[in-house]
């Protein structure tokens, strides 16, 4: 029974990744065309435009050299784009850490080899939201005391406006303004730590 090949654009991410891992013809191209822009965006948002092309190229060199190990570790059923964003976050951090330590230009995969350690590849899909919660805590920690209290009461204690206003001895109108500004300041911090989830400002 002849099996007609499914066009790459119609494959699910699971099928796409399975094809890449078993070396199916054209699978790498299909993976690249579906996810390269997202990978480029994640790198660009994390680096502010510096070294983007180098890191992007190094990332794919690393993928090829490792036999797509990062994709082998992807937990099927979870979101591949979100998983890739986590992998890239660690890759970019390692790239910059290595660059700082060496104080010289990073030229290619040979120099990147030492920084291709487990950190980037031991992420599982179940940790995505946990990571984001940690980012949220770090963002919350740098707020001023009143903002911290407002954000905590709203986002983590689920209190309504009236209860929060009573606790903080504020009028409802003042509370609404204060809450809105506290949340906005909180999100500014989150954006600095996880810029890939926010639209480009440039």
């Amino acid at each position: 029974m002849a099996k007609s090949p499914v066009p790459p654009t119609e494959l699910s991410d699971v099928e796409l990744v399975d094809n890449v891992l078993r070396g199916a013809p054209g699978a790498i191209d299909a993976f690249y065309h579906r996810h390269s822009r997202l990978i480029y965006h994640c790198i660009r948002s994390r680096t502010g435009g510096q070294d983007v092309d180098d890191i992007f190229q190094a990332f794919f060199e690393r993928l090829l050299k490792s036999g797509f190990r990062a994709l082998q570790l992807w937990q099927r059923g979870s979101s591949l784009p979100v998983y890739l964003s986590s992998v890239i976050r660690n890759f970019v951090t390692d790239f910059h850490r290595s660059k700082r330590l060496r104080e010289e230009a990073v030229g290619g995969t040979l120099e990147l080899e030492p920084l291709s350690g487990g950190e980037a590849e031991t992420i599982t899909a179940t940790t995505h939201l946990k990571e984001l919660r940690h980012i949220g805590i770090r963002a919350w920690a740098v707020l001023e005391a009143r903002d911290r209290r407002l954000v905590c009461d709203r986002l983590h204690r689920d209190l309504d406006n009236e209860t929060i206003a009573n606790r903080m001895k504020l009028s409802m109108g003042t509370l609404r303004t204060a809450m809105s500004r506290a949340q906005a300041r909180y999100l500014v911090q989150v954006r600095q730590l996880a810029p890939e989830f926010f639209p480009d400002r440039a």
């Binding site: 029974m1 002849a2 099996k3 699910s12 699971v14 099928e15 399975d18 790498i28 191209d29 690249y32 390269s36 822009r37 997202l38 480029y40 965006h41 994640c42 660009r44 948002s45 092309d53 992007f56 190229q57 794919f60 090829l64 937990q75 099927r76 059923g77 979870s78 979101s79 784009p81 979100v82 964003s85 899909a125 179940t126 995505h128 939201l129 946990k130 984001l132 919660r133 949220g136 740098v142 707020l143 001023e144 903002d147 986002l155 983590h156 809105s180 500004r181 949340q183 906005a184 300041r185 909180y186 999100l187 500014v188 911090q189 989150v190 890939e196 989830f197 926010f198 639209p199 480009d200």
Partner: protein, 282 residues
């Protein structure tokens, strides 16, 4: 570190309720989303919801991990679409590097072969011819639809062998996330189109090669034929899936010693055959 906006920016940024909801997700619930819930989230991220529905979507994202992850993915894709594309020269370099070396060296390779190597190649060709002749009946059987992956459907009256401790969720604690390698089953996401085709083929007792990519790859597995027993309950769940493109299902490898009690459902295993049970994920 001062988190206040810089001087001159009295007005804070418009509050991004979608991201706030994701950040306040408790991670306590991972119930699979219905098609309606997925649409609700998609519309929310796209800014197409009325305020009352926005509240509903926010509550869902705060409670359900899968909802939060879906929203994150949508955010990521939306941000990506506004971001500049990959420069073409970079794409060309990477795709060139990923392409295996072409046959440009083939001529040199042929020329470099010595007499003994030619003898070896001739021998291999003769052996291949014999294998083709001997293997033709097998090949014909495969081509005629009796392929190596057979499917059959069974109704399961006693579901107790399918109980998994990791499915228990206690109030106030996150669901247990065991190491997949330590579990005796795998939860996999399969397109509903493939599941529908499987069910149709199972009813007729046919072959279903499209399921092969979803089966675990074990050593020597390629030599063995495979049989997948499909839980009839999957049909009901699929009918209730309401047009969703993918569905989580549970797969048991019946050769795994830990699935001894599950094998009571399927009966004894024939030698030299891989056998799996495909069932619903609770």
């Amino acid at each position: 570190m001062n988190a206040r906006p810089p001087d001159g920016s009295d007005e804070p940024e418009a509050v991004d309720q979608v991201m706030l909801a994701v950040l306040s997700n408790r991670g306590r619930d991972a119930t699979v989303l219905s098609a309606d819930q997925e649409r609700l989230l998609d519309d929310w991220v796209a800014g197409r919801l009325a305020p009352a529905d926005e509240e509903r979507a926010a509550a869902l994202v705060r409670q359900n991990t899968l909802a939060a992850e879906r929203v994150l993915e949508l955010r990521l894709q939306a941000a990506t679409s506004e971001s500049p594309p990959v420069p073409q020269h970079l794409t060309a370099q990477i795709l060139k590097a990923s392409t295996p070396p072409k046959a440009s060296t083939r001529g040199a390779w042929w020329r470099s072969l010595g007499r003994w190597q030619w003898t070896g190649i001739a021998g291999a060709a003769a052996l291949a011819s014999i294998l083709v002749v001997a293997g033709l009946p097998v090949l014909q059987q495969l081509m005629s639809g009796g392929g190596p992956l057979q499917v059959a459907m069974v109704p399961i009256s006693d579901r107790s062998p399918l109980f998994e401790a990791s499915d228990i969720r206690m109030r106030g604690t996150p669901p247990q996330q065991g190491d997949p390698a330590e579990q005796r089953f795998r939860d996999i996401e399969v397109p509903t189109a493939i599941l529908r085709s499987l069910l149709a083929k199972a009813a007729a007792g046919g072959a279903a090669p499209e399921l092969e990519p979803y089966l675990p790859k074990s050593s020597g597995a390629g030599d063995q034929s495979a049989r997948v027993i499909i839980d009839a309950a999957l049909k009901e769940k699929l009918e209730a899936s309401d047009g969703r493109p993918q569905m989580m299902v549970r797969l048991y490898d019946l050769k795994d010693p830990r699935t001894a009690n599950v094998r009571e459902i399927s009966g004894p295993l024939p030698d030299g055959e891989r056998q799996y049970l495909l069932t619903v994920k609770p």
